[in-house]
């Protein structure tokens, strides 16, 4: 089969149409976040108190689904994976950023996407969280001259796990699937052990 995807990168439609698609794809994104119960801070933080591991389950099911999809479509020669945007790798700021973000998740109860879903369903804490993101992002931009050195550290090439460690792509895909399935089993055990009282 001839290579034809990503459609946008093959010029099948222009910028304006890509924005319409962005809105439609966003609808799907928001729908499934809310369906999963992620418009609720209480549900989200339950992940960190181990009485409801839906965050892990949903996230890893989604990762595995999309990963298997791109792997398969790439394998049959239909999707050119090298044209799919890979966020550039800057390990040090990504590690520190991850830690700060994890703390912010616990304190505030949301992440950016879920705070929008929470706001859409009437959660005032979601709305205030969104305002907090705006304030923090503005502060980051103003402090950028001080943070720039750290922000840009590393070589900034989009690295993959298989590429970095010289492993075949399929082997890493298989390992992630195994890890996810193991994690789902473990999550079930943890939920039983840490069940919230009264449930």
């Amino acid at each position: 089969m001839a290579m034809m995807a990503p459609f946008f990168k093959y010029g099948m439609f222009g910028d304006e149409a890509s924005l319409v698609l962005a809105f439609l794809i966003g609808i799907g994104f928001g729908f499934f976040l809310e369906r999963a119960g992620f418009g609720s801070a209480r549900k989200l933080v339950s992940q960190f108190y181990l009485n409801d591991l839906a965050v892990f389950k949903v996230m890893f099911t989604a990762i595995v689904t999309a990963m298997l999809g791109v792997t398969y479509l790439g394998w049959i020669g239909w999707l050119d994976l090298s044209l799919v945007y890979l966020v550039p790798t800057h390990l040090a700021p990504q590690v520190v950023g991850g830690l700060i973000l994890g703390v912010g998740f616990v304190i505030g109860g949301y992440c950016p996407g879920t705070s929008v879903a929470a706001t859409a369903t009437g959660r005032l804490d979601g709305l205030i969280y969104v305002l907090g993101i705006f304030a923090g992002m503005f502060a980051f931009a103003e402090l950028y001259p001080l943070l720039k050195g750290f922000y840009l550290s590393g070589d900034g090439v989009g690295l993959t796990i298989p590429g970095t460690f010289g492993l075949p792509y399929g082997v890493v895909v298989f390992a992630v699937v195994l890890m996810a399935v193991g994690g789902f089993y473990g999550a079930g055990l943890l939920e039983k052990k840490f069940a919230a009282p009264g449930e």
């Binding site: 794809i25 949903v58 830690l99 005032l124 705006f134």
Partner: protein, 165 residues
């Protein structure tokens, strides 16, 4: 909805983004676009001189609001509201534990949002743009980021239990 079903749905939406547009899902970039727009409207000179904001301004004459992620997040809002309305889950309320006042909970939400923005800005993405999207693409930095999100969250969760019990 069963978390595995919701996960498959979310994964298919992400796959559709990869196949149709050649990029994944995100959220943080939409906030950056709005900040870039706001700063460039109030103080255009200042915005051009700030490299971080300038990165979101694009060509002269193109509004920073014409951002793929901003349109996607607008859709996210609509999709979440639609799902919430279908399920009867839309109501104005503040999520918190019984022993915390609304005022304290909202202050915590604001503080969490500020920290989240800093973390996501440093990491070049959040749980959507990095963990979910980069996770599915086996992006090295995204996996490192994702491990650290869980590490950071579990490390401090105990100290913030009072918000929820």
């Amino acid at each position: 909805m069963n978390p595995y079903l919701a996960g498959i749905g979310l994964g298919l939406v992400l796959l559709a983004a990869f196949v149709l547009v050649g990029r994944g899902l995100g959220a943080t970039g939409a906030f950056n676009a709005v900040i870039a727009w706001a700063v460039s409207t109030v103080a255009p000179e200042h915005a051009r001189n700030n490299e971080f904001i300038a990165g979101y301004l694009g060509d002269e004459g193109t509004s920073p609001l014409k951002s793929w992620l901003l349109f996607e997040v607008a859709g996210l809002f609509a999709g979440a509201m639609f799902s919430g309305l279908l399920a009867g889950r839309v109501r104005v309320t503040t999520e918190k534990g019984p022993r915390v006042s609304v005022r304290v909970r909202l202050a915590m939400a604001f503080a969490g949002g500020v920290l989240m923005a800093f973390g996501a800005a440093l990491a070049r993405g959040c749980t959507s743009g990095q963990a979910l999207t980069g996770g599915a693409l086996l992006n090295l930095g995204s996996w490192a980021f994702m491990l650290m999100v869980f590490a950071g969250a579990y490390a401090v969760a105990y100290f913030f239990r009072w918000q929820w019990r």
